[in-house]
Symmetry: C3
Subunit: 432 residues, 3 copies
């Protein structure tokens, strides 16, 4: 449970808010590279953290991310001409390069002074992992390196990336991921569907049984420089424990906890659009093998944290159609009647409201990671407000981690489980 003031602090991310300033100290994905693949192609609207921006790739392939309002009289640069290394406003031809410097102010007489003083607000960008990233921090601050999330370090053939619109505040999407206890319910078959009790059943069916049969996983949270690992431990057969480990990395990176060795990993990064909507930039990656055409088709149709999407990256099953809930399906076949793991998550997270009211909660032990998450980001946003800039963005290499599942004997502590599964007690992959 949060106070109303803390809930405001957690959820508001415009430029004039503490959490908005905190987010702006981290690199944010802002578009798929596929959206701006063509030099001098059409500009793209980007709405991020309450700001209206425009994205363009110039003649030389460089990418600019500018405030959408032209500095002259505020016309929208989205309607601009992307030509010869600059984006040109069509009202009076003011043209800006990717750094926001004026390249041409054709209706301004020489000596008017504007050539030196005018600048379009521009944010630094980087391409990484199939996404375009931006850093929207204050101009006087140093720009940190890109977070070395593993999906961006593997070859393009080893990953699948996209984005999806969530019609609610960013924080409840983050919380939905950190709380892996909900797997025992939200993503299960209907209770009347029997679990396969054969000890030699395929892994997926055995996992289902363990998850369903132990709805109160014991959580261990291991904090570190850029976030924390959450281990959720459930009873399996033969005195073993089935562990699911999720990586949370500041401010809004999350992962799916299911992958056994060799399986494809899932993760995502949340970026607020407004306080009542956000993008999930989603990714699947497999460091050990390429993601083949068949798996790629499956991901494109919606799989894991990736929803089935329309051409504007809005999930087909969304708020407007009650996420396609099928009550007969809910009664007899699945727990929710909603098709798709990502859609099930979207349904429940958005059902908490556009901005969840955290003043009336009743938290329990399986919400441990949620509590930790809130404390971590609220404290950090307050610290920044008091003048203490975050260290996390500078530990870029520590973002290269893996999540996943593992078995261990009863009593094995999380760090040993992690060591066994990933060769590192925090699941970190060395960055060469």
């Amino acid at each position: 449970m949060l106070s109303a003031a803390d809930n405001e602090l957690l959820t508001r991310t415009n430029a004039d808010t503490p959490m908005g300033q905190y987010f702006r100290r981290f690199w944010q994905p802002v578009a798929l590279l596929d959206e701006i693949d063509e030099p001098d192609g059409p500009p793209v609207r980007v709405d991020i953290l309450g700001e209206q921006l425009v994205l363009f790739r110039d003649s030389e392939g460089q990418i600019g991310l500018l405030e959408r309002a032209c500095p002259h009289r505020g016309a929208d640069l989205f309607f601009g001409r992307n030509e010869e290394c600059g984006l040109r406003c069509v009202y009076h031809g003011w043209k800006f390069d990717v750094q926001g410097h004026p390249r041409d102010l054709p209706n301004v007489p020489d000596g008017a002074g504007l050539h030196d003083s005018v600048r379009a607000k521009a944010y630094p960008t980087r391409e990484y992992g199939g996404f375009l990233w931006a850093w929207m921090g204050p101009e006087e601050a140093d720009v940190p390196p890109l977070p070395q999330l593993e999906f961006g370090r593997v070859g393009a053939a080893h990953r699948y990336v996209t984005k999806q619109l969530m019609e609610c505040n960013w924080a409840q999407v983050m919380e939905g991921d950190l709380d892996t206890a909900h797997f025992s319910f939200l993503h299960m078959p209907a209770p009347s569907v029997p679990a396969n009790t054969n000890p030699n059943a395929p892994a997926d069916e055995r996992r289902l049984r363990w998850i369903r049969n132990d709805p109160i996983p014991r959580f261990t949270v291991q904090e570190h420089e850029v976030g924390f690992v959450i281990g959720g431990e459930r009873r399996a057969e033969d005195g073993q424990r089935y562990w699911r480990m999720t990586q949370y990395m500041l401010p809004s990176h999350g992962t799916g906890p299911s992958a056994m060795p060799g399986e494809t990993y899932f993760g995502f990064t949340i970026v607020p659009v407004t306080d009542e909507a956000c993008w999930m930039f989603t990714y699947a990656w497999n460091p050990e093998r390429e993601i083949g055409p068949e798996e790629r088709d499956k991901l494109e149709a919606g799989h894991g944290v990736i929803a089935a999407l329309d051409e504007n990256y809005r999930p087909l099953r969304n708020r407007s159609n009650d996420f396609g809930i099928d009550r007969d399906d809910q009664k007899h076949r699945t727990y929710t009647g909603v098709k798709g793991l990502a859609e099930q998550d979207a349904m429940i997270q958005q059902s908490q409201g556009f901005i969840a009211d955290r003043t009336r909660e009743n938290l329990t032990s399986t919400d441990a990671a949620i509590v930790r998450f809130r404390r971590r980001v609220i404290d950090a946003a307050r610290a920044l407000e008091a003048g203490d800039a975050p260290d996390a963005p500078w530990y870029a290499d520590l973002y290269c981690t893996r999540p996943g599942s593992w078995f261990a004997a009863d009593g094995t502590p999380l760090e040993d489980v992690m060591q066994e599964r990933f060769g590192d007690r925090l699941g970190r992959i060395p960055v060469g």
Copy 2:
């Protein structure tokens, strides 16, 4: 004319308002029983008095009306599973019975204390007259008996019930009913359509003539414990008077005044959704005979206070299509060019705005009942605010009344007319 402050008091009904608290001391219809006829069927969203609620019928046929936000972390119980005597949140399986008591908190360890402390906010409900009713008053207050409106006391075959959405504040719908002077205009044929002047014409045509020919009915208002009777008297032939009597019962029950003995009665109960929309729960009943298939078909197609509806109980002719106004029809055939008495009422009431501005009115003698209504509910809401809970809900039997038409010699006072027409000076029917 009201002051701006009184208009606010009259029209605002959220939980933190005096009128909202006043409404909450009375039973409110919240759904048709047809909407929740199936045990363990799909939950139903109910938006009433600014609150978001969910309705479900459990395995044993009991009905629960709960706050929609799950007490755990606010997920929407509408998406929940209705199973084995409880509604279960699909996020973490919290399950509540119709009283809001937790039946299962599967992710909560024993001894965590939540099993005793957690409760879903639940409102008492009753089935009556084909509707589900709820009492949303404070927990510490005593729950009064159900108002014994006559349509609910006759056999199901003797009534027809439904509901319709009104896209405006509740009070202007109420006022439209209390002011029966508007029958001389709104519901008439075009002035160019001649009235049948034959003294032996059928009753309906004679009524039309009297109503049209006397546009200034004299109103008598007779107050009583749970509201008032309004008698509107018009000149008929042979020194007779044609009386139309409407029942107003606190806080928002109204009736149609047309019925002659043997004819079907019409009534409705208004329940605010938000301050800018409300439900009319409408009913037709005939204590003397069953409502046969033909009359039932006629009611279903829209008749009397019942509009032609779509599958979501929204009138087909509504704000978005200017109520289907046909200007040629208005010029030559009907007063409004809008088809249907209910739609004519809806058109004019909604045309006053989402919340009518009562600070700029010019009332006249035929608005007497409106003035009385406002004074009655505003005074009562203020009294409750000052600590004086209303008596009216406790006089449940006095809600069993009839409205209708009658003839009387000039000079007959209302109470004698009522006595002649209904055998009681207030139109009350004894409750056995």
Copy 3:
């Protein structure tokens, strides 16, 4: 650049604002006469300056413009009956003539006093130039004569008039017109399209060359009693200058500056609907010849300041479809990829936001007329607020002016250019 306070003052025009009061001292076009051509025809909704009004033509052809809320209880007179020299509310039959005087209050007893005191708020109207005009100033003020804009003084066969909805504040539409520097960009072909350099090319193609080749026109602004003339001077061949002269007349009349002698003139008058939308009442007129069927068809399809419209006078290419921008067309054929001069203007003006933020501009020399416009109307609105009513509405004859293009030798001052082109240094046409 304006202060936030001045931007508010400039853009807000409801009745309780200084600019709203200023507008109300001038006649405003409120409808096309075509919309109310039929005596006793259907009433028409008019939303102007934040007020909800209803327009009707009575049995004798007189036009009434009344507040839409009936004085009785606020029912909407749009649903009223237009009959026998009055508009009748269908709730209780209250009927008002074009002056707002009650002609019938059929449910009001004689002697109730209302017959003398009740009045529907009515605004004086005049027919002029194919439009209906209204004067919405205070009742105690004198009503000025109609502004004698030339399009209204020529025969109906010499003009074409319509209106179009703009989804933004009125002032940015006005500013877009006053700044003719944007012709060198917004309305040009794509830069890759060569200009015709043949000195004997048709006038249109030569104009294009001069406009494109001199993107920093020198502006001269000549203020006068009812506005100002703006002359924009560009280099042409042979030491000549190409001048484009625009008329701005208080508070919101503008013109197209292209017409050479004999060509059809274009103009418009802006009327705020709300602060985030406005009507442009547009007109083309030719005092020297009739506008024939072919030119009329061209105008109806969208030409000059007139956009291609749907049946509700909303441009077909509008905000909701990004003004039909075609990026391929923008790259290879036109500067904007948007079809139609009016649509290009609408696109760029609306792209500044629903209400442009003028606190962050960087103005340059070609914005001279915009600066003058702002100072003129802001000062005048402030003066009115201080008790100093505007003179301009009383100089009705001075509104009869012409805009257009001309050539002159380098160094010729604006007033001489005007004298040469129009026979008057301000482009005024004597009113007989």
